[in-house]
């Protein structure tokens, strides 16, 4: 199994919420080993703003938002701190105008680089491009790909 803690990107957490069986199996094995999932405050913001906007638009999603809040409370939530801000600025300055639109990716990638923790994402290609352009050291993993151990 994983030998080091990892950071989940928003899309991986979303796959978990959607019940993706491969991601769920990986997450279960990870939780048994490490006890808690790790996400960033950026991911918490991204999800909460989605619920709040939907509720403001009259959608009855209070129960689901509460479940997410409990989930986040039981995760290790890494803040976007001054070190991450410095890394994010480096990445942002290296990107094209279109890549800069993916601000969430830049902020989450920066936290992973600042903490030197592998990032689990479904979108390795985009993050690899950000890392290549800016020269930061970003280790990427994808939990949506089955492993031999969990595929049995």
């Amino acid at each position: 199994m994983a030998s080091t803690p990892v950071l989940l990107d928003t899309d991986t957490l979303s796959e978990l919420s959607r019940g993706n069986p491969i991601v769920s199996a990986r997450a279960r094995a990870y939780l048994i080993e490490f006890g808690r999932l790790t996400v960033t405050a950026v991911t918490v913001f991204e999800r909460l703003r989605g619920y709040r906007q939907a509720i403001r638009d009259g959608k009855p999603y209070q129960r689901q938002m509460l479940a997410f809040e409990v989930l986040a409370h039981n995760c290790l939530v890494l803040p976007f701190d001054d070190v991450a801000a410095d890394v994010a600025a480096t990445i942002w300055a290296s990107c094209s105008r279109s890549q800069r639109q993916n601000l969430g990716d830049i902020l989450i990638g920066a936290v992973a680089v600042a903490r030197q923790i592998p990032l689990v994402t479904r979108n390795k290609k985009a993050f690899a491009m950000l890392a290549k352009l800016s020269g930061v050291d970003l280790h990427l993993l994808d939990w949506t790909k089955p492993t031999r151990h969990l595929a049995r």
């Binding site: 957490l13 006890g35 808690r36 999800r47 939907a54 479940a67």
Partner: protein, 137 residues
């Protein structure tokens, strides 16, 4: 199995005094525990006079655990990166109101994750999980 703990306690199916209603380890609290335990105690104290417990909050004592309970605590301790004793003390602290980091059950975490998008149409779910985008200045 040896254990040094500050407070004698019953867990699992026992009612204990509300927090701060009696000084931990006090004779009042011990009487309360004794009066409200409905089943045979899972944990029990041996070899220590109650009068000593009332005056010394850090006395060493022996607590015996059923094998299956011991195994469950050991599993949780490994997952939380604690010793067995550290896990027991963390559980007691959590029970008595201290903010202690106790890793929740993996199945519970996964259930909360699924519940966070349960019964939401995919079109709305796509919006809720949408990533942060910025408009270039």
């Amino acid at each position: 199995m040896g254990l040094t703990a500050g407070v004698p306690a019953c867990i699992g199916g026992f009612r204990t005094a509300p927090a701060n209603s009696a000084r931990p380890g006090s004779a009042q609290q011990l009487r309360h525990l004794s009066a409200t335990c409905r089943f045979s105690p899972i944990w029990y104290v041996s070899g220590v006079p109650r009068s000593a417990l009332a005056h010394d909050a850090s006395v060493a004592r022996t607590i015996r655990f059923p094998a299956d309970l011991r195994d469950r605590i050991t599993t949780d301790a490994d997952r939380c990166g604690r010793s067995f004793e550290g896990q027991v003390i963390a559980l007691l602290r959590s029970h008595y109101g201290e903010d202690v980091d106790i890793a929740p059950n993996p199945a519970d975490i996964l259930a909360f994750a699924k519940a966070s998008l349960a019964d939401i149409p995919s079109v709305d779910a796509d919006v809720i999980v949408g990533k942060l985008k910025s408009v270039e200045r």
